[in-house]
Amino acid sequence: MLLLMESLVSKDLKVRYKRSIMGFAWFLLKPLFSMVVYYFVFTRILRFGGAIPHFPLFLLTGLLPWNFFSSSLTASTSSLLDNHRLIRSIYFPRMTLPAAVVAANLIHLLLALCVLEAVLLAFGRTPGLSILLVIPALLLFTMMTVGIGMLLAVGNVFYRDVKQFVEVLLLAWFYSSPIIYPLDSLGIDIVGSQRLLGILKWNPVSGFMEIMHSVMYAGVAPRAWCWLSLSIWSVVFLAAGAAVFRRMEPVVVKEL
């Protein structure tokens, strides 16, 4: 099973950058470009990121993991349909399909985070020991992504609307998550009310984004609620995703 995952991931990575000039560099370029766009929009047009020092770096710390999250979900949504011939002609653990998609994206994220850390260092933001907390946080976040991905993959087999819906969902999700703004005192200016801020805290990705911002950008230990929220959501989504996938698998295969 592990080997199968590894093979699927390496296939994904090989295939993705065939016949592209920039190749592997795209995993960095994409968030970089969106960072530039957001930076200009929010500091020059809307004028709200000005209060956050090194705003581009702040943006990148959130955008990189969000990029991982959204491209993982988009790809895993269609992962079963894309492989319908394969699924219908040999038996293998099908759970590996959405999982491998997430894993391939995770490799990109890890590389991107290393580059980001180098940039942060260059700007004099030396990380403390708390940087190690990225590892458990990423682990939990990946669990959550795999769980949601499995739910979407199964849903998309029955209703092709899921794929369209995911696009809209991700757009709404992006703006309601603390990616381009923080959830602390600085965020109040942007979000507007304390109450709304409290609601946004329980957004499933808020915990993780806050951890990333604290650990990588601010260099402080993340607050407890972040861990609580992230752990709960991760366990819930992974358990729900795996349970639904397992239960629906025999039906899905016939439905494809």
Binding site: L3, L4, E6, S7, L8, S10, K11, K14, V15, K18, R19, R85, L86, I87, R88, S89, I90, Y91, F92, E249, P250, V253, K254, E255
Partner: protein, 398 residues
Amino acid sequence: MERGRIVMEDVTLDYRLYHDRAVTLRETMLNVFNRKTTTEHFRALDGVNLLVEPGESLGLIGGNGAGKSTLLKILAGIYRPTSGRAETGGRIASLLDLGVGFHPDLTGEENLMLNGALLGLDRAGMKKLVPEIAEFAQLTRFMDIPVKYYSKGMFMRLGFSLATAVDPDVLLIDEVLAVGDASFQEKCYRRIWEFRERGKTIVFVSHDMKAVSRLCRRVVWLKDGKVVLDGEPGMMISEYLESSRRHAPETGTSPREWGTREVWFDSVTIRNGDGVPARTFRRGEKLVVDAVVKSRMPGPVEGVVFGFSIHRNDGETIIATNNLEMNQPLLRVDGSCRASMEIVLEPREPGTYLLGIALTDPVKSKDYHWRDYFYPVTILEERRDPPLLLSGAVWKQE
């Protein structure tokens, strides 16, 4: 579970069928809200019991939709039975669809490594097998080329070599042996034969009875998801072929009659040009269908279309037309009337044809009365005198 053994106990498998009845956009919209799309369960396998001992070579025969491929997919572990128990012992190689796991952008070798993992082989084991697979597929020179540049035949050859290279205990084959050219096909058969000789279990689905009798020592005949017969190939195949011969004409071109019968053919006589009832006609002779048409509707029925069709013996339609299409007067039936149509045929090929007639109203989309394949009519070969005409002759001497 012993390697190579197959056990199926009372296996049933249902598919869900969707009927989208929506014709218009409005209906489609209504369906979205009412969720009126009807689902229906289709039983592809119905209480199948099967025991295959290790080393047996079993052929599965039966018509289209009999459940052969579904059964194979259950054995491969792809489908889980809706009820019942199905188990296959040992490593399975399923040749249901060749080369499906191949990605067009990856090279032959990369694809083999990836697919090895799908088949459950570890990396080192696969690495060892690659040259062997490439050689069998006769593709050693092309292993570093993306498979999208392969011809269809090369692609299938690689697929077959891969699927059979993993040393399976059970080999499941679904009509995929039409791989590549004749010499490669022969090679495929030899390899499957070799598996048989080495005591591997083989389940082979095919419509090619010659291939089945060549390869299998036991044949199971499936029909409508049930096992009809199970036994020795020679007898089973002749029994099966006999039955398909018996059934084919019945389902194909047996006389059929249907309709609302609001207007109907009360009596029909087919006459020749001289007005004499007949079923055999000379070339170019007039064929007259004389009918008494009755209506049980109150008042006259206007605009009744009177049509006919002529089919070849195998059911193929040759001519089908009616008075509406030919710009002829439509029928008006008030209680009862006599109607006739005259057909003049110019047959290219003498023989027996099947004449069908119909009363319809396409405007109200009503089928009043259809009689399909109803009247066999024979067109005779005509003797022409003289049989040859001289159109020229030249003599020369140099």
